[in-house]
Amino acid sequence: MAKMTLPFGPQHPVLPEPIHLSLTVEDEIVTQAIPALGYVHRGLEKLVDIRDFNQMVQIVERVCGICSKIHAMCYVQGLEELMKVDVPPRAKYLRVMWSELHRIHSHLLWLGLFADAFGMESLFMQCWRIREKIMDINEATTGARVIVSVNVVGGLRCDVDDTQTRWILSELDEVEREVRRLESTFVNDYTIKKRTCGIGVLSAEKALELGAAGPTLRGSGVAQDMRQLKYAAFDSIDFEPVTALDGDSYSRMKVRYYETLQSIDLVRQAIAKMPDGDIAVKVKGRPEGEILSRVEQPRGELFYYIKGNGTKYLDRVRIRTPTFANIPPLAAMLPGIELADVPIVVLSIDPCISCTER
């Protein structure tokens, strides 16, 4: 029957970011989807040649504005390991706190965008309204809403005091109440289930084979989370990965929804267990040798390869972001779905193109 080709992106209102999919549809069923990247590629890994390893912290933070804090954390953790720096414990807990705050804001953001993808504008508004509280916490504690820029090699740049932590906790209570209010909507709503259940199914084997990461992997029932590596202060924080079994868009949504709640709990734990003390140590020397660093981003496992050569300029930084890993599963999921479901499936991996292309 009559086929149709359409460009999906680079500028498409459903996609906040410029990615392009060349879709072929027949009777509104996608038969082929070829991705095209490169609209966000800046080549910032290459900036190691002209920016020293300290300046690179600011640069890797700007790989992506949504997960910027965790990028920096991954990078500095790698360097700290390479340079054998012992980070003070308080800094570790603070890192957990901010990274989980980041996860909350990222997940709320995504839940909103996902709601928008299936056309529920009010839910989008609701999620983003809640998210503003987290943004306020960010700004109040770090000085910036989005690119919080708290990490430096050797620790952190800023601290929180008691009044602040109390305020954070009370705000989080509020956030939790509001998020829980949406639980039955996200999990039980008829129209949402109708639009997401069984759409874009990725079995556990397929997910592993295609190298999926993060909620996309956990939505298929694989309990793998880099926080199990116990980086930063995760060694003393109770943590159990959230999973869902069906591997469809609905499962991925559920994973992210419950991770939001989990992260609220993790922030609370981090604040509760936070010891007093310094937040940074002075770092001496220059990085030399190579190191790998992995952390869990909102979208999954982030991987940094850092190679230093004894000068203040690194030899190579290689960033493998979770979305980079999730693009092949996406490409495998698209054929066979309805055109109307394309935004849902695309968003269900929570794509972040600026991370992917750097």
Binding site: A2, M4, G9, H12, E26, I34, A36
Partner: protein, 622 residues
């Protein structure tokens, strides 16, 4: 006066056919065809003045008319049998033999010379039919002159088969005229069989394998109808002892006659290609387009609906009537849905024909005065528009080499004139204030008392709009003005198209008058589209039309932009820069709902449903 006109309307085509066969000279043939067309049109118009009338010509050129018909009946059956034998089709042979035997028995044993009655009769219904046959039919024949030339040129035939083709075409008109004017069942039977043969010959005209198969299919289905008709006639005769149609009809519904009338309706259903007999008409698409146009608009299928409408008063208010309504409405809906799944332009037209005839049948089945009026109005407007659309598609096909509507995308650049005519034609099919829609409106209003019918009509009419609008839309789908080369066509191609469209528009504008003329005098038939309402619509929509034309003219000078393709740059028109910086073509296509509407699968269900309806209809008559 009517006698002369009758003679001219029925006999002249026969003579013209003979002329076409014998005078094998192109110019002369064209002259004969145009002349016959003109004459028939004139006669038909003149007949308007003298309806209703009845006549009983005894002899024609000195031969007794009834004798002639009797002889011709047997001859026709012989011909059918011959073709059945030639194509090794046992069913046809059987049907021919059966009818032969039955007819022989009938003529020899049963028919007693009864009292005198008019063998020809004309009322509004027949007059409308004659007008449609003569005017639309002639226009089709005229359009066929350049068309067939091109057609044969394209096929690279050695000897021209045009004489035979045109002979049958004009003969067809005569047969149809006879069919709608006769008042004698035996005459009716003759003309009925004659149209069967003619259509068979026309469908098989190209003599390709597929053409022959389809022709044979048409033959057996129609022969089946013929047999049913014959049995019905005999039955009626045995009950009433007369062949006088008016006498039978005006006697009103009688329980005893229901079954034979059901058989008559069955014959009508086969001829009008109602489900489950739609396949012969779909198969008829292989014939050259003028044939399709003729079969679909003014002749053949209209004979089927004519038969049912003619006898409608004889079963008004009975269960049979309801059965006809249901079967018709079902066909209307089912064929519309099937048309949704088609991209072959001619097939869409074919399904739409069957669908619209279903609507007409449904009107006949509803069988109130308003409904019958609706049916007649639908006949008129359907014939005009459908002929127009077929001729357009034929013209387009000869130019672009395809009848697929996907290939007609952006036809506006390639064939601006025809494209506009085609779109206008489609719009007259589905939109007010044009006749088709107004007819449908009267139909729906008159069916409001019958739940199932109205539900199917409501669904069907929505689907109808969808498949037409889709086609019309994509014809206009062009991305930039580009250089439109002016379209060159022979006058004989263009004239009929313009005349048909003009006719449809004009008659729509004259709707109140047409309606009153068709409805005739009588109580309780308020015209839903009174002159005031029509006036309002014509003024508002008409001035809107002028504004729109003006806006379109202004838009010509506006800055032209490229279609929105998510910002992907375009290097070459109709492409966008996709992955690997390659120019990806923008391919457009419609959804044909392959997952829902598969022709094969659905047809099977539809046929079963329709068969059930027919059983219900005939069984209900018991």
């Amino acid at each position: 006066m009517p006698d002369t006109l009758l003679f001219l309307l029925i006999v002249v085509p026969f003579l013209a056919a003979l002329g076409c066969l014998l005078l094998r000279q192109e110019q002369l043939r064209s002259l004969i065809i145009i002349g016959t067309g003109g004459l028939l049109t004139l006669c038909a118009l003149m007949l308007m003045a003298s309806t209703p009338f009845s006549a009983a010509p005894k002899s024609i050129l000195g031969i007794s008319v009834s004798m002639l018909i009797q002889a011709a009946d047997f001859f026709l059956l012989g011909v059918i049998g011959y073709y059945g034998y030639k194509h090794r089709n046992l069913l046809i042979q059987g049907l021919a033999v059966l009818q032969f035997v039955l007819l022989a028995c009938f003529e020899t044993f049963m028919v007693a010379p009864g009292k005198e009655y008019a063998t020809f009769y004309g009322d509004t219904l027949s007059l409308v039919m004659v007008l449609v046959i003569c005017i639309v039919g002639s226009l089709i024949c005229i359009h066929a002159i350049p068309y067939m030339k091109e057609h044969e040129h394209h096929l690279q035939l050695e000897g021209s088969k045009q004489p035979r083709f045109f002979a049958i075409m004009v003969l067809f008109l005569g047969a149809m005229n006879g069919l709608v004017l006769t008042n004698d069942l035996s005459f009716f039977y003759f003309f009925f069989e004659l149209t069967t043969i003619c259509s068979f010959l026309l469908i098989g005209h190209d003599q390709t394998e597929i053409a022959e198969t389809n022709a044979v299919r048409a033959l057996w289905m129609n022969a089946l109808g013929g047999a049913a008709l014959l049995v019905g006639i005999m039955w009626i005769y045995s009950k009433t002892g007369t062949m006088d149609m008016q006498a039978i009809i005006s006697a009103g519904p009688k329980a005893a006659l229901l079954l034979p009338l059901a058989l008559l309706c069955f014959a009508g259903f086969t001829k009008a290609a109602q489900a489950p007999f739609q396949s012969w008409l779909l198969g008829a698409m292989v014939a050259p387009t003028p044939t399709s146009a003729l079969l679909h608009s003014s002749t053949m299928v209209k004979a089927g609906v004519y038969l049912v409408i003619r006898f409608a008063p004889a079963f008004a208010g009975t269960f049979l009537s309801l059965g006809v309504a249901l079967a018709g409405a079902f066909t209307f809906l089912a064929m519309a849905v099937l048309a949704m799944g088609q991209s072959n332009g001619k097939k869409i037209l074919a399904y739409s024909t069957v669908s619209n005839l279903g609507l007409i049948m449904a009107c006949a089945g509803i069988n109130t005065k308003a409904a019958i009026t609706a049916a007649i109005l639908l006949i008129i407007f359907h014939a005009l528009t459908k002929a127009l659309l077929f001729l357009c598609v034929g013209t387009i096909e000869q130019r672009i080499g395809s009848r697929d509507i996907e290939d007609m995308r952006g036809l506006l650049t390639a064939m601006p004139w025809t494209a506009v005519i085609l779109v206008a034609g489609i719009l007259t099919m589905i939109l007010p204030p044009f006749g088709m829609l107004l007819g449908k409106w009267v139909a729906i209003e008159s069916s409001s008392q019958q739940l199932f019918v109205i539900v199917m009509l409501a669904l069907g009419s929505a689907v109808t709009v969808a498949y037409w609008a889709r086609w019309a839309g994509q014809i206009m789908s062009v991305s930039s003005l580009g250089a439109r080369e002016p379209e060159l066509q022979p006058m004989l191609t263009r004239g009929p198209l313009a005349a048909l469209l003009g006719g449809a528009v004009l008659l729509s504008a004259l709707w109140p008058w047409v309606y009153n003329r068709v409805a005739g005098p009588g109580p309780g038939l308020a015209n839903p589209a009174s002159a005031a309402v029509m006036g309002f619509m014509i003024v508002v929509i008409g001035s809107g039309f002028l504004w729109a034309v003006n806006a379109m003219r202004q838009a010509r000078t506006a800055r032209m932009t490229r279609p929105y393709l998510c910002g992907a740059p375009e290097n070459v028109e109709g492409t966008y820069v996709g992955p690997i910086n390659q120019d990806m073509p923008v391919i457009l296509g419609n959804a044909y709902f392959t997952s829902l509407v598969t022709e094969d699968r659905l047809t099977c269900w539809v046929n079963m449903g329709a068969g059930l309806m027919l059983v219900l209809m005939i069984g209900g008559a018991l």
